[in-house]
C-alpha cells in the first residue's frame, strides 16, 4: 500500500482567499493512499520545502502531491525537494489550484470543491507514478548564432569571450544588420557606424568566431546540447581566400542599375557588390540574378580585372553540417510594406519611411548626407513626421503592437534636422509619445524645448501631392481644429515586423512564434531570453521590437545563458519518453510513421511469451531522440507503446478521479 503525502499551499492569500484549505485537507484525508496531509502559507519557501522534506523522511512517503501554483512554475522546485529527501523526483505531482482554480473562480465554495477534485486527480495519478531516471547526454561545446546584426554580433562576441566556438550565420554578404544602416543613435547622437564597426572587426578577428555570411540555415535537427545544423553557403562567385577587397571588380561591373538594398532602394548598385564600404568580410558577392555573365554567358569583366584571380563563376552552393550545443536566434526586424496606406501617398518620392530618412541623412547615403527632396533635389523648408503608421493598428492594414522605437528615433531625426538646418519647420503628428528609458524623455523634451520642434497631438488624414509641395490634412486634437499644412517632405514612422524567414526557422527549431510572428519567450518575465525549446535562445528584435541598448542587453543575457549551458559537460535528458512493452508489440510500424524525430526503429528482439521464446519484429525507442510527445502511444492499437510520466493508466486514473462527481449517474 503506497503512502502519499499531500501538501496544500496557501500562496499567501492567492489560494487561501478563495480555497478553504482546511476543507480540502479534510476531504483528501479520506482518499485511499493518502498517508499525510499538511498545509502551509508558502510551500515554495524555504520553510515550506523543509516541511515537505521532513514529511517525506518521517512518514517514508512513496509519492507526494503539491497542490499549489502551475507546474510550469514550481514543479522543478518540488522535484528537487523530493530528491533531497531521497524520493525519486518523478514521484511528485502538482495539482494546479492557483492558475486553474483560485484565480479563476470567485466563489469560495466552488473553488474549494474544484481544488479537492484537482488534488484528487493528482493523487490518482501519483499513485501510478514510477521512479524515472534521466539519461545523460554530452554537450557539444559550440554555439550557433543566427543573424549577423548587432544582436548576433554581441551574442557571438560574449560567447566567444567565454572560450566557446561560435558560428555566426548571416544571409547577406556582410554582417552589420540594420544598425549599419543607421546614421546616428539616440539618445546620445553618436554615430552608429563608429560604435558598430569596432564590434564587427572584433567579431571578424576573434579566433573563436567563424563568420558565415551569404549563408542560410537549411535544416536543424537534434535537441539541447546536441543540435545538428545544415548551413547552405550560397555561391559567392568570389573566392574568399584570394580576394583582397580592392574594389576593381565592382568599379568595372557594367550592370549598375540594381536597387541597392542597403540604401533602401534609393540608389543603385552593381551586380558584383559589397553592401557598404565597411562590409565585413570585405569580399564582394555576385548577384547571379542580375549578372550578365550568369544571364547570357558573356561579359566576365570582373574576372578580367581581378588581379588576384579571385572571381570564380563555377562556384556552387556548399553545405556545411555542424553540431552545436546551443542556438541563438537573432534574426532581427524589417519595416512593413505601406501599400495599404494609400492616404499617406507613399508612392510620392517625398513621402518616405524613417529608414529611408536614415539613409538620406547618412553621410554615405544616396545624397551624400545632403537633406534634399528626392523628387527635385531641393532642400525642404518644412518636414512633417507622422507617427504610428501601421503600429497599434488592429485592422488588417497594420500591426497591433507598438513598434517601440519610433517615438525616440523621430525625436532624434527632428533634432538632427533642426541642429543642421534650424530654418526647417518640423511638425510631428503623434498619438502618444512613449519615451521610457534612461535619458529618453529628456531627449524628447529637448527636441521641443531646445530645438523648437512642433509636436501635434493628432493624426493626418491625408497627404496630397500639390506639385511643388505636399498638402497635409490633419487634426490637432488638443485645439480641436483641423490643420491644413503645406510641407515639403513627409516621414512615416513605419511599423516594424520580424524578418521574413522567421517562420520556417521557428518550425525547424520547433520553437514557437506568437500571433505577430515574433519568437515566443519561455516566460514573459522570468525567462525572457529563452525560447520554450530547450537550448534555443533569443536576442534582439526577433523576440519583439527593441532599440539598440535593449538588444545589446538581451544579446548579452542570451550569451550568458548559452555559456551556462555550454559550460556543462553533460545534460540530463527528460526521462518522460516512450517505451515499448515487447510482449504486446506487433511491429506493425504505425508508431514509427508518426514519430517526428525518427526515434523509433524496428528489429528482431527476443520475446518470451509464457515460455514461448521467439525473435519478433519489435519497435525500439531511442531515448536520446524521443522528446516524449506521445504521438506513437496513441497510434499504437495494441497499447504496447506507453509514455513514461503520462501512461495510459495514469491519464485514465485522472479522468476517473475528475469524473467522480458524476459517478452516480
Amino acid at each position: 500500500m503506497e503512502k502519499i503525502g499531500v501538501f496544500i499551499c496557501h500562496c499567501g492569500s492567492n489560494i487561501k482567499a478563495t480555497v478553504d484549505a482546511d476543507a480540502v485537507i479534510k476531504e483528501i484525508r479520506g482518499i485511499t493512499g493518502v498517508a499525510f496531509a499538511a498545509q502551509y502559507p508558502y510551500m515554495c519557501a524555504k520553510a515550506g520545502q523543509s516541511l515537505i522534506e521532513a514529511a517525506i523522511r518521517d512518514n517514508s512517503l512513496d509519492g507526494i502531491v503539491v497542490a499549489a501554483c502551475s507546474p510550469r512554475m514550481h514543479e522543478a522546485t518540488f522535484r528537487k525537494v523530493a530528491e533531497s529527501a531521497g524520493l525519486n523526483p518523478y514521484m511528485v505531482e502538482i495539482a494546479n489550484i492557483r492558475e486553474h482554480c483560485s484565480w479563476i473562480h470567485r466563489d469560495g465554495g466552488e473553488a474549494t470543491v474544484k481544488a479537492v477534485e484537482l488534488t484528487r486527480a493528482a493523487i490518482a495519478k501519483v499513485r501510478l507514478n514510477a521512479p524515472l531516471f534521466p539519461e545523460e547526454n554530452s554537450v557539444v561545446k559550440r554555439a550557433l548564432v543566427i543573424g549577423g546584426g548587432i544582436a548576433g554580433i554581441q551574442a557571438a562576441l560574449d560567447i566567444a569571450e567565454a572560450g566557446f566556438e561560435v558560428d555566426l550565420v548571416e544571409t547577406t554578404p556582410s554582417i552589420g544588420g540594420k544598425m549599419a544602416q543607421l546614421d546616428k543613435t539616440f539618445p546620445t547622437l553618436d554615430c552608429s557606424a563608429c560604435i558598430l564597426t569596432p564590434k564587427m572587426v572584433d567579431c571578424a578577428s576573434h579566433d573563436k568566431i567563424n563568420i558565415l555570411t551569404y549563408s542560410q540555415i537549411e535544416k536543424i535537427e537534434g535537441f539541447v546540447g546536441n543540435f545538428t545544423a545544415t548551413i547552405r553557403k550560397k555561391a559567392r562567385s568570389v573566392c574568399m581566400e584570394k580576394c583582397t577587397g580592392c574594389g576593381d571588380c565592382w568599379n568595372k561591373c557594367p550592370v549598375k542599375k540594381i536597387p541597392d538594398e542597403f540604401n533602401t532602394g534609393l540608389s543603385n548598385r552593381t551586380a558584383i557588390y559589397i553592401p557598404f564600404a565597411q562590409a565585413l568580410p570585405l569580399v564582394p558577392a555576385i548577384d547571379r540574378e542580375h549578372c550578365i555573365k550568369f544571364k547570357t554567358g558573356k561579359c566576365g569583366l570582373c574576372q578580367t580585372v581581378c588581379q588576384p584571380g579571385a572571381i570564380d563563376f563555377e562556384l556552387q552552393d556548399e553545405f556545411a553540417t555542424e553540431k552545436y550545443g546551443a542556438i541563438v536566434v537573432a534574426t532581427g526586424f524589417e519595416v512593413i510594406e505601406l501599400g495599404k496606406f494609400g492616404e499617406f501617398g507613399y508612392d510620392n518620392p517625398d513621402v518616405i519611411t524613417s529608414m529611408e530618412f536614415e539613409r538620406i541623412t547618412h553621410g554615405a547615403g544616396p545624397t551624400g548626407g545632403e537633406l534634399v527632396r528626392l523628387s527635385d533635389g531641393r532642400k525642404p523648408k518644412s518636414i512633417t513626421f507622422i507617427q504610428c503608421v501601421g503600429s497599434r493598428d488592429i485592422t488588417e492594414r497594420g500591426k497591433p503592437y507598438c513598434s517601440k522605437i519610433c517615438c525616440m528615433y523621430t525625436a532624434k531625426h527632428s533634432i538632427l534636422i533642426k541642429d543642421k538646418y534650424p530654418d526647417i519647420d518640423v511638425n510631428i503628428f503623434y498619438i502618444d509619445m512613449r519615451t521610457p528609458g534612461k535619458a529618453y524623455d529628456e531627449f524628447y523634451r529637448r527636441s521641443e524645448e531646445d530645438f523648437g520642434v512642433r509636436y501635434i497631438k493628432g493624426q493626418v488624414g491625408r497627404v496630397m501631392d500639390m506639385g511643388d509641395h505636399l498638402a497635409i490634412s490633419g487634426v490637432d486634437l488638443l485645439d480641436n481644429v483641423k490643420l491644413e499644412l503645406k510641407t515639403d517632405m513627409v516621414i512615416l514612422a513605419t511599423a516594424i515586423q520580424p524578418a521574413t524567414g522567421i517562420k520556417p526557422l521557428a518550425s525547424m527549431l520547433s520553437a514557437s512564434i506568437d500571433t505577430n510572428n515574433f519568437m515566443t519567450e519561455a516566460h514573459a518575465k522570468l525567462r525572457p531570453v529563452e525560447s520554450p525549446t530547450a537550448g534555443v535562445f533569443l536576442a534582439g528584435a526577433a523576440q519583439g521590437p527593441k532599440d539598440i541598448p535593449e538588444t545589446v542587453g538581451q544579446a548579452g543575457a542570451a550569451a550568458a545563458k548559452v555559456i551556462g549551458l555550454l559550460a556543462k559537460d553533460i545534460l540530463l535528458s527528460n526521462p518522460c519518453t516512450a517505451t515499448v512493452d515487447i510482449n504486446s508489440c506487433n511491429g506493425c510500424s504505425l508508431c514509427g510513421l508518426v514519430c517526428p524525430y525518427g526515434a523509433i526503429s524496428y528489429g528482431p528482439t527476443k520475446v518470451d511469451e509464457f515460455g514461448y521464446k521467439t525473435l519478433e519484429r519489435i519497435s525500439h525507442v531511442n531515448q536520446a531522440l524521443c522528446l516524449g510527445c506521445g504521438a506513437c502511444v496513441v497510434a499504437c492499437p495494441s497499447g504496447a507503446m506507453n509514455l513514461l510520466g503520462y501512461t495510459n493508466l495514469q491519464l485514465q486514473a485522472e479522468v476517473d478521479a475528475l469524473c467522480l462527481m458524476n459517478s452516480d449517474r
Binding site: I394, G458, Q459, G461
Partner: protein, 129 residues
C-alpha cells in the same frame, strides 16, 4: 427626461462598435471632409458616448453633417467605425419621432445649397416613409 442610458446601449448595439478600443489618435477627424462643419467632431462622438453624454450629440446638428463617406472607418487603426456610430446616433434620434423625420419643407432650412445632390436623395430615402 429621456433615459439616455437605454439610448446609449441601443446606439452601441446598433453600431456594433466597441468604443473602448479607441486610442484617441484622431485619424477619424483628420480624415473627415465635414470636420469644419461639425460642432462635435468624429472623434468626439466616441468620447461623448464614452462618458454617456448622448444628449449633446442628439441635440447637435453635427449629427446630420456626416456624409457617411466612411473615410474614418477605413482609416481607423482600432476598427472603431466612427461613421457606424454616428449612423446609430442618427437612428436613436429619429426612432422616438416615430414618423417622418424629414419633410420637404424642412429641406431648405436644414441643408446648405452647396451640398451634394446625392446627399439629399440619400437623406430622403432614409428618413421618409
Amino acid at each position: 427626461m429621456l433615459n439616455y442610458e437605454y439610448q446609449l446601449e441601443e446606439i452601441l448595439d446598433i453600431s456594433g462598435v466597441d468604443i473602448g478600443r479607441c486610442m484617441k489618435c484622431g485619424r477619424c477627424s483628420a480624415s473627415c471632409p465635414s470636420y469644419d462643419e461639425m460642432e462635435h467632431r468624429p472623434h468626439q462622438f466616441i468620447t461623448y458616448l464614452a462618458r454617456g453624454d448622448v444628449a449633446a450629440l442628439l441635440e447637435s446638428d453635427a449629427l446630420w453633417q456626416c456624409l457617411a463617406c466612411f473615410s474614418c472607418v477605413q482609416r481607423c487603426p482600432r476598427d472603431v467605425k466612427p461613421a457606424n456610430l454616428i449612423e446609430a446616433v442618427r437612428l436613436a434620434a429619429i426612432r422616438p419621432k416615430g414618423a417622418e423625420f424629414l419633410t420637404v419643407e424642412e429641406v431648405e432650412a436644414k441643408f446648405a445649397p452647396d451640398m451634394p445632390q446625392q446627399l439629399l436623395v440619400a437623406a430622403f430615402r432614409k428618413y421618409m416613409r
